[in-house]
Symmetry: C2
Subunit: 289 residues, 2 copies
């Protein structure tokens, strides 16, 4: 019976491995999907803030208007990178974890098959034992039962070997995939955070450049009925609109279309050959193809 | 009537300024509070992922166990920085915006007061006009009415002047505060993202160091009943636990207390004199005092 006990021990290790993978990979999938969803919610809130900042900018004088609109653009750019982060997390982290269920089911089916074969072996052994006790002199019957046991034992041995190979392959794939998925997660996050640092640095400079005194001058002039919408200072180049003297609503519209085209730019930049995720992972296939 | 019309124009500019501030600062406050809340939700999900990673690590062989636990620690560290981000956003961005309501209410009260005085002036002017049409010869009454108009006009002039000063001060404070709040927002975000890049770089290296072949060796040995829990490789120093051979549940416990102490460390580090938010903002007062 020792070989059967050993096989039982082996199968217990295999079953545990697959059961744990099923349990924890399922959890990882759920939690990383939730993490991705929360990231998308964060992007939504920031997008709304961008919209309000632009609306407010249009009620302000030139100095604060320019500052707020440049700031809002940078904030929108961070959300574009966050959007790329969300798409990559779904594609490279959540989806691979979702697909994992199939692999686990296959391995579980192999284990079930082995258990069936092992039960048959045990039954044959019990039959032989009973025969030996009840009719120890029936040589023919005992010999027949011994052949059955031998056959069942060979079957179980072969199935164990197959199972071992299956589970070894499963474990190897599991460990490799886990390392890959976590590396992709880290890379995606790292790229996003690095881009955010870059864009926020520019936003910080925008805010530092803001000239309060100039703005107050304009405000006082406006209060005393001196309007200077076409004044020389309004002709300063704005990076994000057409003519600076356009009506507020058209300023808002052109700012929004700029935001959209920027989102596209950020995305196409991310899917180019220089995609840092792809660089770091050393993979040929882009995310956005 | 020209002076009254001019004052009306002035007051319209002032009213618009305060009404817009009320509307948009209210929106900024709501949206930034929501942004902060969503950031906290993201931290919660990542904290749960950390817990599951540690639980799973305890079901794995030494190689993956070590990798996963180091990785989980880094992920927990990022959440500590995210927690600091949440606290700072509340303290330096959301709270100042909340307190803004009071300032707006005060300025609105000043405007109301002025409107009352202005209405009185208009009434006196109308009275004088009527008198001149009805009894143009009643010199005494007309002279009395003229004095009333003059007095009301002086009152209105003084109130307009006061109002102008109040609104000028309000506008100056508003622009200054907005610049400060947005700069604080950017700085808080920038510090968080920079820390995240740093910690994820370490996490990436942890994953790169993972040795799949060594792990599979261990797995095959375990499947064949060769347990090596006290083997020489298990004696490798682990940065985050006591003895490597401890039972899984105690490993999990010590990992969690490590996470807690790390969160404290990260917080106390952030509240130190070297706090980059404080450095950049050039302010003496720390956030966590």
């Amino acid at each position: 019976m020792n070989i059967v006990l050993f096989r039982d021990c082996q199968v217990r290790v295999m079953e545990e491995t697959v059961t744990n993978a099923e349990k924890y990979f399922g959890q990882f999938c759920l939690l990383l999907a939730a993490y991705t969803r929360k990231t998308a919610r964060l992007r939504d809130k920031a997008d709304k803030l961008v919209k309000q900042l632009i609306d407010f900018a249009n009620t302000e004088n030139l100095e604060m208007r320019t500052t707020l609109r440049n700031f809002a653009e940078d904030l929108a750019k961070v959300q574009d990178y966050r959007q790329a982060e969300v798409e990559r997390l779904e594609f490279k982290v959540v989806n691979p974890l979702k697909l994992y269920g199939t692999q686990i089911k296959q391995t579980q089916a192999e284990i079930k098959k082995f258990k069936h074969v092992r039960n048959h072996e045990i039954k044959q052994l019990e039959k032989l034992e009973k025969l030996r006790q009840k009719s120890p002199s029936d040589r023919q019957m005992i010999s027949q039962a011994e052949t059955c046991v031998q056959r069942a034992s060979v079957d179980a041995g072969r199935t164990t070997h197959q199972l071992e190979e299956t589970v070894n392959a499963f474990q190897k794939q599991k460990l490799k995939d886990l390392q890959k998925i976590l590396s992709d997660f880290v890379t995606i996050e790292m790229v996003f955070h690095a881009k955010a640092v870059e864009v926020y640095s520019s936003a910080f400079q925008t805010l530092e450049r803001y000239d309060l005194e100039r703005d107050l001058e304009d405000f006082r002039a406006k209060m005393h009925g001196v309007h200077r919408p076409y004044g020389p200072r309004d002709a300063r180049p704005l990076t994000d609109t057409g003519p600076a003297a356009a009506a507020p609503w058209s300023l808002a519209q052109s700012a929004q279309s700029t935001m959209r085209s920027q989102r596209k730019e950020a995305e196409s930049e991310d899917s180019s050959a220089e995609d840092p995720v792809e660089d770091l992972r050393g993979q040929g296939q882009g995310l956005h193809h």
